[in-house]
């Protein structure tokens, strides 16, 4: 039994006809053709598929598409402004926070949610939060550095908003 769902993806309204068993990650990739979100383990241990739902980083393999109906969803495609990479992405580039790039969208969305909520997160907090994401290339040090170095952009952003 397929169901029609509507939600907001990176600021734009989208709709899809989905089976209830379809994960949000598969819906975004296969129905909405936004392939920036990568699907790794499909049972909630690798973090590659992390997207942001209503401001919270969640695993899109452990969220059904039907559960996201009516919600605001953000994926890695929503970070950059056209060809201009977001500060967090620039920081990953600068610090070599990626090699093969498979895990990168998950790390970016996890770090983006964290720094949006906690722009002053210290290294220990950043490491704790990133512990839910697996990277087989970098050894993590460069990712932690990249996230730490992106904090001023979020702090400035928060100052502007408040």
């Amino acid at each position: 039994m397929k169901m029609r769902i509507e939600f907001e993806l990176n600021g734009k309204p989208v709709s899809a006809e989905v089976e209830p068993r379809l994960t949000l990650g598969d819906c975004i990739r296969h129905e909405l053709l936004q392939t920036g979100t990568h699907i790794g383990c499909e049972h909630g241990v690798c973090g590659a598929c992390t997207v942001i739902v209503e401001g919270d980083a969640v695993r899109s393999c452990l969220t059904l598409a039907v559960q996201a109906a009516g919600k605001r969803v953000q994926t890695v495609e929503g970070l950059a402004n056209g060809d201009n990479l977001a500060p967090l992405q620039q920081s990953f580039q600068k610090h070599h926070g990626l090699q093969c790039g498979f895990c990168t969208p998950g790390f970016l969305m996890t770090a983006h949610a964290l720094l949006t909520h906690e722009p002053a997160a210290d290294e220990e907090r950043i490491r704790e939060v990133l512990s839910g994401n697996v990277c087989r290339c970098t050894g993590y040090l460069s990712i932690v550095k990249a996230v730490m170095d992106a904090r001023p952009a979020y702090q400035a952003n928060k100052a502007v908003q408040s």
């Binding site: 039994m1 169901m3 089976e19 209830p20 068993r21 994960t23 598969d26 499909e42 049972h43 909630g44 973090g47 992390t50 919270d56 980083a57 969640v58 695993r59 393999c61 452990l62 969220t63 059904l64 039907v66 559960q67 109906a69 996890t110 964290l114 704790e128 939060v129 512990s131 839910g132």
Partner: protein, 289 residues
């Protein structure tokens, strides 16, 4: 792998949700989905219908009063982590829950979901058991208050009926000055514990232990209490000699199975070690921990 097929409903009232569970054999409740969806991905469960309770009102709050804590079934781990009142209202609960899984899962996983899933290594069932919580469930027959001791039946098995939905969990009040500690051992941060031990007790004006509670996760079919160790501790002054006896007794009392994560004998030894660490911590930390 991809999940098996099932139907989906997202009712807006508790009555409607209970009706859906009664009318559809093999229906299951879906809340945060952080335990259920992995089971489906492994095809270890084949529900006919998932009843999503995200729209049910009034189950997403933590209420604190002189009678204790009332924690709604849809309260997420991140809410417990962020609730500053819990540092005094129930520090053990908050500390144990801070060991649950990872950031992304903590944003969706819920109290009721973890209780209903009943993983013997999980912190929520463990803290409910060691704190003598009441678990409130509502079904066609009305509301039922189930003692944590009667709730967990076996690994991934509870005394919930097919048509019952957990609505809240109630914690007895937590007196200020209570001594407590929680230690768990996992190979990596956020992984399920190989074993974990929670201890708490009060120190009377006579300087001896009263109302000792010792709870263990990851060393049985369900979260357990070590009655023998509690009896050993009550009425005694806590010193290294007593801690040594408690450590030995804790190891001897549990009978954990071997699995791919650890051997049973290793877990027995670990439970003793964690009990001793917990008692030392609780003794030295006092009221301020």
């Amino acid at each position: 792998m991809k999940m098996p097929q099932f139907d989906y409903a997202c009712p807006s009232s508790l009555e409607e949700a209970i009706q859906l569970l009664s009318d559809n054999e093999g229906a299951k409740v879906l809340s945060g989905g952080q335990s259920l969806l992995p089971l489906l991905a492994f095809r270890m469960a084949q529900p006919t219908l998932l009843v999503d309770i995200q729209k049910l009102a009034g189950m997403d709050r933590i209420e604190i009063s002189a009678d204790g804590l009332r924690v709604g079934a849809r309260v997420r781990w991140c809410q417990i982590e962020d609730d500053k009142r819990l540092a005094t209202a129930h520090p053990l609960f908050q500390f144990m829950i801070n060991h649950v899984a990872h950031y992304q899962i903590r944003n969706r996983g819920t109290v009721g979901g973890s209780l209903a899933h009943a993983d013997p290594s999980a912190e929520m069932p463990g803290v409910a058991r060691v704190c003598d919580c009441d678990i409130v469930a509502v079904g066609n027959a009305g509301e039922r208050v189930i003692k944590a001791a009667d709730f967990f039946v076996a690994a991934l098995e509870t005394s919930l009926q097919e048509d019952e939905i957990i609505t809240e969990v109630r914690f007895p009040p937590w007196p200020s000055g209570r001594r407590w500690a929680f230690h768990e051992f996992a190979r990596r941060r956020g992984d399920f514990a190989i074993a974990g031990v929670a201890v708490f007790f009060d120190i009377g004006s006579d300087g001896v232990i009263a109302d000792a509670h010792v709870g263990v996760i990851g060393a049985g079919d369900t979260p357990i209490r070590l009655d023998a160790v509690e009896q050993l501790l009550n009425g005694q002054r806590l010193d290294e000699e007593l801690i040594g006896r408690a450590r030995h007794l804790a190891s001897e009392t549990v009978d954990p199975q071997s699995d791919i994560h650890a051997a049973g004998d290793y877990r027995k030894s670990l439970v003793g070690t964690l009990t001793a660490r917990g008692l030392r911590d609780a003794a030295s930390s006092g009221a301020v921990k």
